[in-house]
Amino acid sequence: MATAVLEARGISKGFPGVLALDDVSFRLDAGQVHALVGENGAGKSTLIKVLTGVYRPDRGTLLLRDEPVTFDNPLAAQRAGISTIYQEVNLVPQMSLAHNLLLGREPRSRLGVTDTTQLYAEAERVMTRYGIRTDVRRPLRSLGMGTQQMVALARAVSIEARLVVMDEPTSALEPREVDTLFGVIADLRSEGISVIYVSHRLDELYRICDRVTVLRDGRVAHDGPLDELARVELVALMLGRDPAEIRRDGATKFTGEHTTTVGEPLVQARSVSCRPVLRDVSVQVRPGEVVGLGGLLGAGRSETAKAIAGALPVDAGTVTVAGQQVRRGSPAAAIRAGVSLVPEDRKAEGIVPTLSVRDNIALAALPQLSRSGVVSDARIDRIVDSFMRRLRIKAASPHQKVSELSGGNQQKVLLARSLATGAKVLLLDEPTRGIDVGAKAEVQALIDELAAEGLGVLLISSDLEELVEGADRVVVLRDGAVAGELSGDQVTEEAIMATIAATGETDG
């Protein structure tokens, strides 16, 4: 038997309140792409953090090429040839792309100081290889999530490593960039470098992975070659359910068509401009309608949603809700008018990490839940209780800190927060990013359910399948302007791609 590149034996790791990993063993062979899957909160990220020196396991041993090792910190793991892309893009937002990319490996001039010319040249060279052409001197935060993810990827791969760990690298990527990534992974494999790959997108796993380990509730539920495992079986293993049951339910939870009322638009954005990212964007959503926003990374979808939600200073254009114009630049006014945004960046703009699940849900609706400035705990408890049940939020108690929940459950908390305000229109920016198949289906079902109740939904998703199945109508953006609109039978993946790629002037 070949020596394992990295092996974990009997690893346990607990946090206050949960046992995130319970006696997990894991073995990675050379030149293999090894998938690590499981529901939200199954312990994937925790296992990766144990393998790479972020956490110390409570029990168990690590073996690097059959030698026992302990990593005190990520640096130690890096020195041992393990390079990692962590789940949340973990780069420094204020620093330039180049400095992020080459931090710790800056080229030096003869005087021993950093040679900045060479630094930028090198960074530009690397990024071009990943299909990113941008000024590498720009601060990272001025770049879209997708570009940032590519930088993280380039950084991890360009470190001389024997093992590259990728925790949900594609959740912020477009199909094209995913292709680039897979090209890189193929190269790595051919060089004999192993890859641990975590993703909730099952198609991807079947495209590139050799082997799979399924985690469920902190335990190993399955371990074996991936091609021997049918997709439904994999999902069943993750969820701990019967494959037959899964087969009945289908791929996405969307039912497809809604009974779109031809009534007055609930919300209407007219010629919204917001230099330099948006030009003349008009979108409307009618009651009971799910409108998709399509486009590539940086096309301005998030900006459109934020402009409608009053979270961006708009240069021109109006937003009306039920015929009434909403005050510009005030999220509070938008919420009062019944428009609520669930932002794409959960960590930075969504949850308030210091507060409990309960307080996070009640946050936006506080004015409605209090009388003369004093909150009514009874009313809060009632509403929190009902949403936690309805959205099936998994938490030890409503008083648990929201930062301790898994990604999918945090997402549901944000949905609950929006719904608790009594919103008539929901703007959902990547609502299923980074959440597991089970939770994804639940969220999708929920969107359907809400639309059926007469809510208007604006859905932004990089997952084309989700967009096609979920939306009644898709508005496609390119370079901050509307490139086209598709409805009814026109809504297909091919049509969306075609609209994005069309170079000439399109109607709209």
């Binding site: 973990n90 620093m95 400095h99 931090l103 530009e124 096309a299 370079d479």
Partner: protein, 336 residues
């Protein structure tokens, strides 16, 4: 800089140059806003007061600012790393007393004693901050108290002012070269060195990374503990050096110095465009900030007719004006 639109990758680059210019301007304003405000203040002062723009007054401002400047260099490192060092005022006075005491055993002791003690305390503070995760504000506040206590202990509860009787050491504070005293040259050298360290070495980039996002820095393999410890060590050493040089200038270990100095230093750094949240800033701004404080003080003295209480009102208002101006410049750039 790439200006082509690369349709193939779908990465948007067409807007890059435009945003870049604005970013550059923003960068300029944020980092050199203090320099601009400084220039305006100097011009206004020169027009308004005859005896303001004299070489001697300029030299006075530069010389008396140099000690604050040396400390501010260290503080800039600390603040960029996302920390703060309240202990510098106490380090400054303690170092002065130790240097004066040490000067009776020769130049070397006069320099090494304060540097060792202040460096060691900086090191300990850094270790506590880095290892325990306690707030730097509190750790260095304890440092402020503890070092002042130590200073009182070594000076017989402040009753004993050691005098410098070593000419070589005195020269360090008093001799001048090309019209400027040695501390000014040392300041310039340190600012230059600090600038290179910060901008052009891996260590400097690590400091920025930790201040920008400590979590990310850890995951990117930055030796966070070591960098943090070093940053507080630098701050302690520089405060110690400033204190020692000041003792050489004053020829004695004055015990009543340094109270509230940390706030002046922090103000200078922040006026210089370094954000207290960490991750951005630089030394040019800090130097401008230090000079700005000196110039404001000198202008208030020039006005002359103000009562001492009114002088305070004016310096408070001036400080507010400067930071507000900077904010507005910064914002105007962002919204344009």
């Amino acid at each position: 800089m790439t200006t082509t639109t690369d349709a193939d990758t779908g990465t948007d680059t067409r807007r890059a140059p435009g945003m870049l210019r604005r970013e550059r301007i923003g960068h300029l304003l944020q980092h050199h806003g203090a320099l601009m405000v400084l220039a305006v203040t100097v011009v206004v002062g020169a027009v308004a007061f005859d005896s303001f723009a004299t070489p001697q007054n300029a030299a006075n401002i530069v010389v008396s600012s140099s000690f604050l400047a040396i400390i501010a260099i260290g503080m800039t490192f600390v603040i960029i790393s996302g920390g703060i060092d309240l202990s510098v005022g106490s380090s400054f006075v303690l170092a002065g007393v130790l240097a004066a005491y040490g000067s009776r055993y020769g130049l070397l002791v006069a320099l090494l004693l304060p540097l060792t003690v202040c460096g060691a305390i900086g090191l300990v503070q850094g270790l506590i901050v880095a290892r325990t995760g306690m707030a730097p504000f509190i750790v260095t506040l304890a440092g402020l108290l503890g070092m002042r206590g130590l200073m009182l202990a070594v000076s017989d509860e402040g009753a004993n002012t050691y005098l410098v009787r070593n000419d070589a050491f005195s020269a360090l504070g008093q001799a001048s070269f090309l019209g400027l005293t040695v501390p000014v040259w040392i300041t310039l050298g340190l600012a230059l060195l600090g600038g290179v360290l910060l901008q052009r070495t891996g260590f400097g980039q690590n400091v920025y990374a930790i201040g920008g996002s400590e979590e990310a820095a850890v995951l990117m393999g930055v030796p966070v503990t070591r960098v943090k410890v070093l940053v507080y060590l630098i701050s302690g050493l520089l405060a110690g050096l400033a204190g020692a040089l000041n003792a050489a200038r004053l020829s004695s270990g004055v015990t009543i110095l340094g109270a509230g100095m940390e706030l002046d230093v922090i103000a200078a750094v922040v006026i210089g465009g370094t954000l207290l949240t960490g991750g951005s800033g630089g030394l040019t701004g800090t130097m401008a900030g230090v000079l700005l404080l000196g110039v404001i003080q000198s202008l208030i003295n020039q006005i002359g007719v103000l009562t001492s209480s009114f002088q305070q009102v004016v310096s408070g208002a001036f400080l507010a004006l400067v930071v507000v101006t900077q904010r507005i410049l910064h914002r105007a750039q962002r919204l344009s």
